[in-house]
């Protein structure tokens, strides 16, 4: 069996995967939570029971036709570094990265299907897609689930649906989510209003790494909260609708910023480029926030010839574990900041500085605010 570092596609490749609306929607994900009837939930189970559950589930998952050529490993055989890399790629949760004996991971070749065994629930299976493709992700994971339900004895009640360790996931056990890049809504200070409006619809908005994390790099995760009393397809469609509107809001915000405050936008993007291309020490947080502005610059045509995938690749490569991975000795945070800056300067060496897009007729500069 290959180790995980050899198994995963290089970020340069994985970032080239394209999907609809990927200018704003970075990825789509549908996750199902399932449990076995005759075993205590992983958080309460003794080690022996967890191991038994893993032994029952793992072969069933490995033998799925969708999992031919998959990577399958128990969590205690993965190093802390391996796990952190998987978190940075958004393939496993932080919670799962903390697991050891009795937990496992099965990941398909395309990295589009990932099953966590004994996370909070016995099974957390997810389908991932680039861009806005919730329906396709749902169909893929539904198929996997339909095969697994014949091989495994699920905990299910007619009234409460699929039984989960946490009452927040009961019913369908579904979590439909998308990662959105919303720099213009942040720059125009509309984001809090938007978040509250989305919350009002019973949807959660979270940061880059899910629950309780910061929205680094202007990346937000939107997902359903309620899982009981609404069918899977209705949840998928509802989220689809909201995301379509969020895309529109972000596009509008970009348009109106360019029209009303072009200098502010150019200033942010120009400075972001300047720092990323010239710094000698830079933290991961600052890097993400500046890369987000560069990504916006690419979308606005200010960095002709630069692919969006370059920024997305750097987004991953500058994360702590990915940076550390390239070296044998353990680095301190300060040393990582130096290394990160070196890499960014090198990778951006051939990227020319941002150009100011040709002004559309009739638009005014910031100095004459009359409009």
């Amino acid at each position: 069996m290959k180790n995980i570092k050899e198994f995963l596609a290089a970020p340069a490749q994985s970032c080239k995967r394209e999907g609809p609306h990927d200018r704003i929607v970075m990825s789509s994900r549908v996750r199902l939570a399932r449990n076995l009837k005759d075993f205590p939930f992983p958080g309460w189970a003794k080690k022996a029971d967890r191991v038994k559950a893993l032994e029952a589930i793992r072969p069933a998952v490995e033998s799925l036709p969708q999992m031919s050529g998959a990577f399958s490993e128990s969590m205690d055989n993965l190093s802390a570094m391996d796990k952190q890399i998987l978190v940075e790629r958004h393939l496993i949760s932080r919670e799962h990265a903390a697991k050891g004996v009795g937990s496992g991971l099965v990941l398909n070749k395309e990295e589009s299907l990932c099953v966590m065994i004994n996370e909070e629930d016995h099974l957390r299976m997810q389908a991932l897609r680039p861009g806005l493709q919730l329906r396709s992700a749902w169909l893929a994971i539904d198929q996997v689930d339909t095969i697994l339900e014949k091989r495994l004895d699920y905990a299910f009640s007619n009234d409460l649906g699929y039984l989960t360790a946490c009452p927040t996931n009961i019913g369908t056990g579904i979590r439909v989510s998308a990662m959105l890049h919303l720099p213009a809504l942040v720059l125009s200070e509309q984001i809090n209003q938007i978040i509250q409006a989305v919350n009002k619809l019973g949807l959660a908005v979270r940061g880059l790494y899910g629950e309780g994390t910061e929205a680094l790099g202007n990346v937000f995760q939107v997902s359903n909260q309620m899982t009981l009393g609404e069918a899977e397809t209705d949840i998928v469609e509802r989220l689809n609708k909201v995301l379509t509107q969020l895309i529109e809001h972000e596009e509008n915000a970009r348009g109106s910023l360019l029209e009303k405050k072009p200098k502010m936008v150019f200033n942010h993007i120009g400075r972001a480029y300047g720092i990323l291309a010239n710094a000698h020490s830079i933290s991961s947080k600052e890097t993400m926030n500046l890369l987000s502005l560069m990504r916006l610059g690419i979308d606005l045509g200010m960095l002709p010839g630069v692919e969006r995938s370059l920024v997305d690749e750097l987004f991953i490569l500058t994360q702590p574990a990915h940076l550390q991975q390239q070296l044998s000795e353990k680095l301190s945070a300060e040393e990582r900041d130096l290394l990160r800056a070196d890499m960014l300067r090198e990778r951006l060496r051939n990227v020319s500085r941002p150009v100011t897009p040709p002004r559309s007729e009739g638009s005014k500069s910031d100095k004459s605010p009359a409009s």
Partner: protein, 169 residues
Amino acid sequence: MLCDICKQNVATVHLTQMVEGKTKKVDLCEACSKEKGVDDPTGFSLADLLLGLGAAQEMAQAAAGSDLKCPACGFTQADFKKTGRLGCADCYTTFGEGLEGLLKSMHKGTKHVGKVPQPLQQHKDYQEKLNRLQKQLEKAIGDEDFEQAALLRDEIKQTREKFDNLTTG
């Protein structure tokens, strides 16, 4: 009156909103109201706040009470209070009553809608069909329509056999 969120400062912001036909009230201190965006009336919804607050209260309620213990896995209500998670599938039966309010506060409904595992779906369909036929049979006998009753009796027999073959075969 203390703030509903921090339970430390004096509440100075008082909100009332109709949520699904019920009047809901929240009392907040200055700091918590700012944090929750209450000072921005365009984006604020009491519903979110109540959902969060309500869930916390229900959670405490579900966890309080008697010393229930799940016979299947030994999980207790105190454990639920501590972790917010349950011990096993049977816990939903053991703690069913206490959980109802909690589920109502955090979900759209309290009855599952959506996918059902296929083996169970078949069983459910079978049960429903059998119940329907039984009722029709009783009615036919009551009406002294014995021709119809005979037909129904045969259909019930067939349905049973078909299901037995399905589950054993």
